[in-house]
Symmetry: C2
Subunit: 334 residues, 2 copies
DNA sequence: TTGTAGGCGTTATCAA
DNA sequence: TTGATAACGCCTACAA
């Protein structure tokens, strides 16, 4: 199986290599006649240009790296990753880019990988699937001005490309819904407090309560761990009989909380975040927020590629709408 | 940020480009002195060879494609994919290969993708994460003799590279364990019957029963869908009071079955397969099989790369040991 | 042990 | 509208 090169095509079509190249890149400086002729030969020989040669001359690989930090054994994260990954890959492909998977348990190794990938010209840009505060890699990319996009809201809103939901707004809406149901005793169950997203969601919660002039509110936090959420909730509820609603920052926390509530035979409403498959899978129907994975993926890929290809944009970020769903019957298992 | 090339290094080190190249590739035909000198300059200039140029001369990209077929909304699949993906990526990296993520909802598109990736020389080999019977892509690869490995047991055992557990043996062992517990009324709850793996597991089950001269056995099947498994099991149990054990081919089926059993207040033991995170997550403790993801990943990457690099091997496959775990207390939720 | 030079498969510049 | 030809950055005979 000898590889067909541009030379073979040129010879068979009786034109120069340059002409074939022009046909491939859809150049306008070509007569229709020769174009057709060359295209025919390309079809016949089933010619595909060697990507290494193209990369070499264009100094662009048309590959995006996607960085996955460790998942911490959280099954919801897995949903998030596989979903986002496949959407990102699909939208990247639409613009002619492929996805290189970058993952490492070890942070130092991850950094070296990214560095090598960039320096060897293997990738044109990077997508970060989870935003860590003051991430070393992000700082590095900023420094060397390498194109990247982050799924999440960074500290400095005007720096770097990012795509995210409006977490404040979404949590505020969720909380408002609960207020409208007539509840007045709220508790906020947060995920890891070192994640920016936790703080944004807390802010939304706080605003909604303030607007409604509701005072009573407890705040507890937990890792993204349903088991811990279960224990934390249980303790809380045993100490406090008034609580009517627990607003959480993640379905996984909500699920843990619900288990505690059921066990204590209490009537407390819970809200989640992220519209996880696990929630659907367990047939739980608490209120949650659908963050529109597909749109997040779409927007991040496109803002990144625009940046790579020097397509001008007004803003360096995109806010994706989120939808509040569920909540008709709370915690009803099938 | 101008890119450093081999030329820059050569100039600064006062040697030819060839010498630098030799140092990079650790060639023996080099004096220690110049080697050290060149290495020093490489460090100083922070030189990394352009991968496109290397690919072009070596006609090898050092990239492996990993093919993910559609996940069908099964949360366990997600676990499997993210786990395997990250292990595969780690082991590939150890041998200097990167992972390109290949996924498409549309089968035709997937095929075109694979074809283009190969013809443009972007990938050196392919890993298939789920084996479909008579897969079009696999047939294509066989035809053009392109290196690939499959995680699963193919129909023709002597064709192509593959890595899998011994499913027959594992299911046979699981069934034997149940027999040793004194049960005599068995049912087999299978996943999709068009998957080879379902049939292998069924065979293991059948053998174990035959060996123990146990006759009574029912067989039902279901999609990889806990909800369907739940209904199927419920129906079965309502018609039949004797059943003591249900052997399933997947944790997700086991979980569905357990829910049905609990609902009916029956005492039926269930076994699963795959040691899913969901099982741990739900704190269920039915007997299941740990298929050793990491080893599966490791072996498949290495058998594939050996093939790519013409490293001779005795066999075209690797069987990975599986471990039976759990089962002390069945279905006990926390 | 080292250097020279041709080649890998394209693209892009400059002539024609 | 087309064709030569010099890059792109590296590797590898072949010579020295």
């Amino acid at each position: 199986m000898k590889k067909i090169t541009i030379k073979d095509v040129a010879k068979k079509a009786n034109v120069s290599e340059a002409t074939v190249s022009r046909v491939m890149s859809n150049s306008p400086l070509i007569s229709d006649k020769t174009k057709r002729k060359v295209l025919k030969v390309i079809k016949e020989l089933d010619y595909f240009p060697n990507s290494a040669a193209v990369s070499l001359t264009k100094s662009s690989s048309r590959i995006l790296g996607i960085v996955i930090e460790d998942q911490n054994d959280n099954p919801l994260q897995n949903d998030f990753f596989t979903e986002t990954l496949s959407y990102i890959s699909a939208y990247a492909l639409e613009r002619g880019y492929y996805i290189l998977y970058i993952h490492s348990k070890d942070n130092e190794e991850l950094h070296e990988n990214i560095e090598r990938l960039i320096k060897t010209n293997r990738i044109d840009g990077l997508v970060f699937l989870n935003l860590v505060e003051n991430d070393r890699n992000i700082n590095y990319l900023k420094e060397i001005k390498f194109p990247y996009v982050v799924l999440g809201t960074p500290k400095e809103l005007d720096k770097g490309l990012w795509v995210d939901n409006d977490n404040i707004k979404a949590t505020r809406e969720v909380t408002k819904r609960m207020i409208q149901k007539g509840y007045t005793n709220f508790t906020f169950l947060s995920g890891p407090t070192n994640l920016t997203v936790s703080n944004y969601r807390k802010e939304g919660y706080t605003i909604a309560l303030k607007e409604a002039k509701i005072k009573s509110m407890y705040q507890i936090s937990s890792d993204f761990d349903s088991y811990e959420a279960y224990h934390t909730t249980k303790e809380l509820l045993m100490q406090n009989n008034q609580i009517e609603v627990i607003i959480t920052t993640d379905d996984i926390l909500a699920i843990g909380a619900i288990r505690a509530i059921e066990e204590l035979g209490k009537k407390v409403e819970v809200t989640g975040f992220n519209n996880s498959k696990l929630r659907k899978y367990l047939k739980l129907n608490f209120t949650t927020v659908d963050i529109r994975y597909e749109e997040l993926a779409n927007k991040s890929v496109n803002i990144l590629i625009d940046n790579i290809e020097n397509v001008k944009r007004e803003k360096n970020f995109v806010i994706v709408q989120a939808d509040i769903i569920g909540g008709e019957k709370n915690g009803t298992k099938l």
